[in-house]
Symmetry: C2
Subunit: 700 residues, 2 copies
Amino acid sequence: MSEEVYLSSEAQHLPTKRRRVTPEYQRTLRLDTETTQKEVYVVGTCLKASLNRSAPPSSKFFSVKCSPSVQYSITPTPQETSHLSPLLLHGNQLLLISMSQASDDLNDSKLCVRYYGEKKQVLGNAILHLTAVEISLDVDADRDGEVEKNNPNKASWKWGPGGHGAVLLVNCDSEQTGYRQPDHEKENITKVSDLKDMSLMVLRTKGPAKLPEGYKLTMHISQSDAESVRVFRSRGPGAKDTSSGSIFYSFFVKTYPLVLSNKVLSQEVPYFGGNAELNFHVEGLRFPDKDFSGFVSISLSLLERIGIEIPDTPIFTDRVMFRMSPWIMTPNTLQPMEVFICRTDDNYTLLQEMKNVVVKSGCELKVCPQFMNRGDRWIQDELEFGYVDSPHHHFPVVLDSPRDGKMADFPYEELLGPDFGYVTRTAHKREVTSLDSFGNLEVSPPVTVNGKHYPLGRIIIGVAFPTAETGRNMTKVIQDFLWAQKVQEPVALFSDWLLVGHVDEFMTFVPAPDRKGFRLLLASPDAGYKLFKKLQNDGHGQARLFEGVKDQTTLTVDEILADKGHQAENNYVQSCIDWNRDVLKRELGLEDADIIDLPILFKLVWDDSQNLGFKALAFYPDMVNMVVLGKNLAIPKPFGPKVNGCCALETEVSSLLECLGLSCTFIDNFYSYHKRLGELHCGSNVRRKPFDFKWWNMEM
Amino acid sequence: MSEEVYLSSEAQHLPTKRRRVTPEYQRTLRLDTETTQKEVYVVGTCLKASLNRSAPPSSKFFSVKCSPSVQYSITPTPQETSHLSPLLLHGNQLLLISMSQASDDLNDSKLCVRYYGEKKQVLGNAILHLTAVEISLDVDADRDGEVEKNNPNKASWKWGPGGHGAVLLVNCDSEQTGYRQPDHEKENITKVSDLKDMSLMVLRTKGPAKLPEGYKLTMHISQSDAESVRVFRSRGPGAKDTSSGSIFYSFFVKTYPLVLSNKVLSQEVPYFGGNAELNFHVEGLRFPDKDFSGFVSISLSLLERIGIEIPDTPIFTDRVMFRMSPWIMTPNTLQPMEVFICRTDDNYTLLQEMKNVVVKSGCELKVCPQFMNRGDRWIQDELEFGYVDSPHHHFPVVLDSPRDGKMADFPYEELLGPDFGYVTRTAHKREVTSLDSFGNLEVSPPVTVNGKHYPLGRIIIGVAFPTAETGRNMTKVIQDFLWAQKVQEPVALFSDWLLVGHVDEFMTFVPAPDRKGFRLLLASPDAGYKLFKKLQNDGHGQARLFEGVKDQTTLTVDEILADKGHQAENNYVQSCIDWNRDVLKRELGLEDADIIDLPILFKLVWDDSQNLGFKALAFYPDMVNMVVLGKNLAIPKPFGPKVNGCCALETEVSSLLECLGLSCTFIDNFYSYHKRLGELHCGSNVRRKPFDFKWWNMEM
């Protein structure tokens, strides 16, 4: 049995899981033989009165009369066959009262309970004047983009294709481009266009022109939920064209009053008589995180005034539940839309070559200018593109890294804008390491692991060995954020063996026409040595690495193979990568045939500056650090030994990848990136199309 | 399908839910034709090597030879029918290696892969020397009080009678009585008796006398989990009597070194050769709360040294999962053990009368002396008794209220002790209201609500209306704590209409032989007025309330009924109680026949001191505020109007309750408690026997 999430009772709290509760809403009513009672009844509920509790002393019989609009029953059902003559009064009899439609006028329905003595003499009458109203707080609980009427599942939330429950977006884009600030941080709605980032919630009411004196409608949320949402409303009700069945909303009002926020947990909302619809706009304020499950509930109550200086009593409560959209990452297998690269003093040619690949791939090259990047070229590390999604709207959201290099302002100042959201997490400066750069944050294509389907893939991050007594880690606030999104459950790899420490230094994913729709590419020193040994064996021992690179000492294949110390270093690197290979196979459900080893050698360097000890760096341009744009791959040019004028490394990598229908373009990034301890992937960032798959359809 | 809780991968984090993963642990191994490799193999795992990746260039064939202790297979399975002659080397062949039992000596098992050229000439040998060890980190995953060997479910946790997963206790009692401090706050284990508050975890190993050079065992936890547990170990291994199969542990060592804590996340643990068992003692540090799900994992890894200044590689990891016992409350239907009452200047007679009821009920009266209570008699409000439970041990735990009156020190100074735990939550002083007193914290007997079973009942608290713009609430830290325990999902009632504001002013539960095994008793002004009207009707209009109470103005039944203002106040009170009645029926799955209305009138008073407005107080001693001790009820003596020398209120209440087999003792608490705005229940506290039902058997 799949479980649903419900909000517990009335108190502020996290949702808990429990089974569906029958929606029938019963209310205990006091019968009073001394004063006529005026009650508001909400269609769909049931009023329940003890017949005995308020009966005059010595009452032995009773009878009930009511207007045709009122239905009543007595429980336990009386023995008597006719209700016309007085019935015998028992100790535990209950009167159940309901009405099937809204009243046109106040108090237009009546019910009277008459009590009789032993000799059927009248002892008293309990008279009720009833006004019936219809009240429904509605959301898009069936996730079709429309707010349906009174969905029976609106108060709970269930994952999966057979699930239900409305969706919220964190309103983290900025409608204004002049003064950039995420909209949810602004005090008010500044543009009507901002409404589409919110979820529509409709209060549908039907009844007399106004509520009886002493009754009012109030919307309310718990203190906890108020940290995560705000509610605005439209000033007036939408005019409902009942003749055609279509609905027109008056969107000409300029201001939308704030109804609920962390400062106002409860506020009266207007009642408009007749058949009325009042629009509310629910705005998400924060993403799921360690202390926020993503679920929020909003309630609407009908209050009855009992007396002055006494709190009004909620006599009916309708409730709806939302879940905040997670922040979703996009793997290399999704269609690229924009490629971001920084312009620097030394990358003019590279930019041209990249532009060719980008244009060939049908997407756009966005150059981050020098005044903005201030010499920092590692745009991969500063930010990660993702998106948020709901049935009514979706938009990209950039996750800003705590790295905060010289282009720290770029995500906020340049990316944040209309329909482009922004989110970040603040870490203590001293906790931030190179592992918090987002070259260390990747995502797999969709996978199935031991029967569990991850239709949005799994996030991949790099950390230290869990057994290490010291070591660099990705900072806790970022890890907490990533795990809390839930839909791309992260996998933690070991990347602390690398000097820079990013998972993109030894792995990437490329699309493939067969098997799981992709291949995992892993850097492999063993594959490198195997290739070099084959070259030596085939008589190319004197072919030279780094030939044609200006001011760079070249090395022959023979020299590479003769260096046993270097081989030992690479054996260590291979074992580090193999450790990750085992984790990736296990956590992504991969077989060896889903993995391709690329011939890449590393070297160990001694790091004094941060006291890191021996750490690894690519020995020649690290081809796995490539940019994947559909079938086109922009790969760091390795400057490998040449055989018949062709680089043997390029030949090998091309032959491994071209059979998958991929096209390899090798681009020289030797001085501009490789020598600065990064490659093409580190120096670029790709915004991709969102998944077609909707996150709320995941089976959790 | 029921879901299980697993810990994600390697990173520190909350557990996420996913399906069972096959436990087979595969490790990629590098074959090397240049040096003999010495590897440690863990029984139950699989070593996987690419035959091709390390083959000498021009290799065309290979053959595999090994010791009889080693099993191997090749995948894909070779076409050749015999493995004796060299096999054709393919590009994607993998060698899978396993061993079925631990080695007696280091490197006592061998495996050799021989590579051949085109003409079957030998090109090289990859030689492996293998040492097999058995490693199992074990816990009581089947919850029978014994630590079984290598339970296949030990790494995950599942609720319910068919579930699995080990249990931890927060070690919040104090073994020492001289210097009281919860044991988990102490730096070390101070008494061997403290070990029983911890969960036993056994590291079982089998293998040669020592591990090969460069290998070691390390225990580790994530940073998050280290906030919730510590791990101690015994100094030496338990001596296992293999002849009889029974196990004896040497508990004579006095000190137990701390292995893991929030300061040490990873530490080497000793390996003892042969067939060894090493005991660890896992101590819970904190209860589930808003930011802690209660789940923690502990891992043990075998590390391989790759080089100096390079982190050791974990080549095998075994993992166990625990869940912290929740703090569990005990409803009135559980057998009472001890009744606590404060001695005051004015309650000598009451103490005697209470003692009679307590003794009759087979439990013990514990008097809190005056030097300790310092004149504060409201012991109900200062603390709540509960307990923690595991398969191996359980003990009571007092939850100390943030109320902190004059007897604030009593729970810590008097109750905390050996096998008596203590927990509290710190709230901002200015947030604490009368609603934080634990007369406002009760628990229902076991109930079933729309098919959902609550075998431990549901916690009941009182708050303001969720729609109220102002109002008193139970403080958030306490609410968060109560909800996080999960097994007694709270129900929030409306109690802010009362001046004191406690749910025990209008409700209690008593045992019953029929129906659900209990009745809910509710205070009811309507029932009160009904009784008074009947008295008047029967000619007792001149009978007097409060007759026989010294210095108290009496009132006739006629006078009570003539006061229409007072009747209006009580109508309001009845509507407040009815609102709660509806919530209780809904949230506890009750029918009207499960509820008994007790005739109790209230009055409204204007509160200036805290600016609360009109709030309600009991008009005469509030009989529902009774002490329930099995079938014996100690009820505040109401001093109602007398009919034939008997109090009509006592007569009515006795007749309602005695038919359930209950015995009512009415005790005068008029001046000592009632006039001070409380009654017997507020002035007492009962410690009860734990449930027989085990919390981990709940279906969640």
